[in-house]
Symmetry: C2
Subunit: 228 residues, 2 copies
Amino acid sequence: MVRAGIERAGRILDAAAGLIARYGYDKTSVSDIARTAGIAKGAVYQEFASKEAVLEALLLRQTHRLARTTTEAVTADPQGGRLSAIYRHALEALAADPLMRALYTADSQTLGDLVRGYGPERYAPRQRWAVAFVVRMQEAGLIRTDLDAQSVAHVLAIISTGLISIESTVGSEAAPPLESTLDAVAALLAGGFEGDADADPTEGRRAFTDFIATPLSGDGTQSPEPTG
Amino acid sequence: MVRAGIERAGRILDAAAGLIARYGYDKTSVSDIARTAGIAKGAVYQEFASKEAVLEALLLRQTHRLARTTTEAVTADPQGGRLSAIYRHALEALAADPLMRALYTADSQTLGDLVRGYGPERYAPRQRWAVAFVVRMQEAGLIRTDLDAQSVAHVLAIISTGLISIESTVGSEAAPPLESTLDAVAALLAGGFEGDADADPTEGRRAFTDFIATPLSGDGTQSPEPTG
C-alpha cells in the first residue's frame, strides 16, 4: 500500500511538473493534475492535502534532482571541486530545468507568497546549509577567509536568484548566450571569492558531495507523505 | 500651460510613488492617485493616457534619481571610479529606494508583464548603454579585458536583479545585513572583474558621469508628456 502510494504520488508530481512548466502554477488546477495523471481528483487529495502541498513536494523533488545533476557534473570535472566550477555546474543545472525556470519567472509572485507564508524559519535550514558549506570551503583554502561566510553564501544566492529572475525583466532574447554569462560568473568567482590558488579541489568536491547528502531540513514537511 | 502641466505631472507621480511604495501597483487605482494628488481623475488622464503610462513615467523619473544619487556618491568617494565602488554605490541607492523595492518584490509580476509587453527592443538601449560603459572601463584598465563586455554587463545586471528580488523568496529577516552583503559584492567585483590594480580610478568616475549624462533611449516614450 505504501509503495503504491509513493508511485501514485510520483505520477501526480510528474503530471504537475509538466502542467506547471507549460501553463504556470496559477493556471494549473488539481483537476488538471488528476486528469493528466490519469487518476480521480479524490485520489490526488489522498496523497496531498492541497495544490500547495503538491507544489511543495515538487519543489523538494526538483531540488534533489538538481543536486544530483550538479553532483554528477562536479564529480566528472577534474577541477570540479573549485567554487567557480561547483557553482557553474549548479547554475547550468538550474537554467536547464524548465520547471524551475517557469516557477521563478512566470510564477515568481506565487513562489514568493508561498515562501513568505512560511516565514524566515522556512528558508533558514537551506541558508545554514549554504553557510556551513562556505565555511568548509574556507577551511580547505578554496574560499578566501577574509569575508564572512554568511555574506558569501548570500551573494551566491543573489547570483542564482538574479540569473533566473532576470528573464522576467529582460527577456531571454536580449541576454547574451548562457554559456558566456556562466563563463563570466565563473571568472568572477574564481578571481573574487576563491582562496589559495594551490588549494586542492578534491577537498571541495568532497565538501559538496557530503553536503548534498545531508538532509536540508528536519522540519518534517519536506517529503511527500503517501497516505494511500 | 506647459509648465503647469509639468508641475501637475510631477504631483501625480509623487502621489503614485507614495501609493505604490505602500500598497503596490496592482492595488493602486487612478482614482487613488487623483485623490492623493488633490486633483480630479480626469486631470490625471490629461497628463497620462493610462495607469501604465504613470508607472512608466515614474520608473523613468526614479531611474534618473537613482543615477543622480549614485553620481553624487561616486564623485564624493576618492576610490569612487573603481568598478567595485561604482557598483556598490549604485546598489546602495537601489536598495534604499522604497518604490524600486516595492516594484521589484511585491509587483515583480506586474513589472515583468510590462517589460515583456515591450519586447526585447525596450530593454536594448539600457543594455547597449551598460555594454558601452564596460568597454570604456576596459579601455581605462579598470575592468579586465579577457572577458567580453556584454557578458560582464549582463552579470552586473544579474547581481542587481538578484539583490532586489531575493527578498521575495528569502525575506529580508533571514538575509545578512545589507552592508555585509555589499562588502562581499564589492570584494567579489574587485577581485573578479577589476583590471590593472594601478589603473587610475579618475577615468572610471569620468566614464560613469559621462554615461549618466547620456540619454538612455531615443524612443520618445521615456518622459511624461504634459498635454494639459
